[in-house]
Symmetry: C2
Subunit: 366 residues, 2 copies
């Protein structure tokens, strides 16, 4: 199943393709203003435009000799097939839409990156629509813009509860896959196993002998935040340990810092599971300023494993999410949906990995 990508001749190196036809041409002197079309190629090669189409689409019913002549003609004219015309007649645009919130953040940016890579390998293009805000109508609007533009399927990076709910109301006539949404929403979902990550973080701290584990969570309307909180809570619960009141931040280092100051005043606090690395950074600073040693007095675990985490002071123990893998999987799933025409079966959750570094240590003696 080869598509129009195998034109070969138009590959790099043919830098002159944009020049006017010029000298080598037969008779025609006026510089061509209009880009060459299929029938131009056909005329030059002495065949019909349809044969040119056959060559481009790799039809077997073309004599090698004819094929050669057509290829040469394409090369000479600098012909490039018009994807829009093709899309009109085939109904396939080879474009996929991605709806994402704040692609400035490490997580969404990496996921997007993974998606783009995988799409490229599969011969698709990615159109991005970033969200104005995190409410339902923004998501609906973005999805709508993308389908208006003629994409074949849509991928929503929707870590937000309300955004996820919006998918319930999304049109059903277009393949759609959600990344990092809750499983309860209509669309098929690909996600990292947030609960397992939170469990391993919390368990790690408990194993180090800490009496209990405090938690700085993300905003309650983020699904990941909820799931991480759940993982933390159930772990403590199962261990029969008192559950401290969780503090809610907004993912920012500043929130981590401010909530960290609160925690730093409480001498009981010896272990904190923070819902992401940026807030953990803020917490680290707050503890430092309060004169509480990490990990001597307080152990800290983050979430995400951003590239900076290994160089925090101290290097941060954290839960790594493979965003790129998640992007790949969600794209694969979308492609399957498009090709089979049915909703794809669920993808397994992507397992996260606890990375132990210097911010966690055994509980201080009491």
């Amino acid at each position: 199943m080869q598509s129009g990508d195998d034109i070969g001749g138009a590959k790099p190196g043919s830098g002159r393709e944009s020049m006017p036809a010029g000298h080598g041409d037969n008779g025609e002197t006026r510089p061509r203003l209009r880009a060459p079309v299929m029938s131009d190629v056909g005329r030059l090669a002495g065949v019909s435009h349809q044969t040119v189409s056959r060559v481009i689409n790799g039809s077997p019913h073309v004599r090698p000799e004819t094929r050669e002549r057509v290829m040469a003609a394409m090369q000479e004219l600098g012909y490039r097939p018009n994807p829009v015309a093709r899309a009109l007649v085939t109904g396939r645009s080879k474009m996929l839409g991605v709806v994402s919130f704040d692609t400035t953040l490490y997580g969404p940016a990496s996921t997007l990156f993974g998606i783009e890579r995988a799409a490229h390998e599969a011969g698709y293009f990615i159109i991005v629509a970033s969200l104005e805000a995190l409410d339902r109508s923004s998501v609906i609007d973005a999805v709508d813009r993308l389908r208006r533009q003629g994409v074949e399927g849509i991928l929503v990076i929707a870590p937000h509860a309300q955004a996820g709910e919006a998918l319930l109301h999304a049109p059903t006539d277009m393949p759609l896959v959600a990344a990092e949404a809750g499983p309860e929403h209509g669309a098929p979902v690909v996600a990292v196993d947030q609960v397992a990550g939170a469990v391993s973080a919390t368990r790690h701290l408990l194993d180090l002998g800490h009496q209990t584990v405090w938690h700085i969570s993300g905003p309650r309307d983020f699904i990941e935040a909820r799931q991480r909180r759940e993982g933390w809570r159930t772990t403590l619960n199962e261990a029969g340990i008192d559950i401290p009141e969780p503090l809610e931040g907004d993912w920012s280092p500043q929130a981590g810092y401010e909530l960290g100051r609160r925690l730093s005043r409480d001498q009981q606090v010896s272990a904190v599971f923070v819902a992401n690395d940026q807030m953990a950074l803020g917490l680290l600073r707050a503890m430092h300023e309060a004169g509480r040693e990490v990990p001597g007095d307080v152990s800290v675990v983050g979430f995400d494993d951003i590239p900076e985490a290994a160089y925090f002071q101290p290097p941060l123990t954290t839960v790594r999410q493979d965003f790129i893998e998640m992007g790949r999987r969600s794209l694969r799933m979308l492609l399957r949906t498009i090709e089979t025409g049915r909703r794809a079966s669920a993808e397994p959750l992507v397992p996260p990995e606890l990375v132990v570094r210097g911010s966690t240590g055994v509980a201080p003696a009491r």
Copy 2:
């Protein structure tokens, strides 16, 4: 100048638009498999398909009453115009291509974000093509893929020298703007004033009384790295100060750490200008481990102002680049090129801003 976006009726809330036409319909009972097209709308509204087109494109030559009827028909059928067909006939796809390297990094990701936002406002869509590698042929290839897909213009985020050179060989028949490339390359460029940023960083350290300023630079084949080094060098030069040998890193925290360990052993070193915040983070850690106080013994200035920088220990003095603004400007420039048909005149450099925090202080007494 309104485009097809003003259909209004197809906005959110019309969630049922994907349902089969159903009961309210006049006579037709079979559920429509095919999406409605313009003539379907026309038939229902009792006008020709062309009038429907006029309504969609906001032509003034339509009676308000007729317009109403057409809008109602569109609403009822859940009609959405086919952008592909429109693009074929107008030759305008409303799509712009962005070529970028590693959109995982804060800089490119933010620039991309700014671009997407501005494109959306202008009614355009963005197709991303990320680079496999940082060589010329990757760039050529990515540009080629995008033009094959029918974009109207291309934006290259090309901080790399070889990538920039590739633009010299880029086809000239398509509007193209580069962001963060060197001015010597063929394409029009939008960029942050790296030299000015480096100058202000270096001058800041000198003003604090430091004898000289060391430098950890980025890879030499990054244009920004070169320009920052130049700014640093000329500032020292003009002050008549000995210029220490610069150390070259690869932007990563690890490089900053390793080079930082080298510098930490040299008691002469009292001020370091680091070419980005991530390396500065590594340096901070190296200094800490070596027992050298920042800013007591050594002052450090970074570059970028990533969101984490304010929460490093100590908070990092750095040079802020407004990536989003750069994205907006480069998009504006591209749009101007597309609309006027000529290469746009140069955009002024985006001024960076020195943000003084806790990592810089007066020189230690000797």
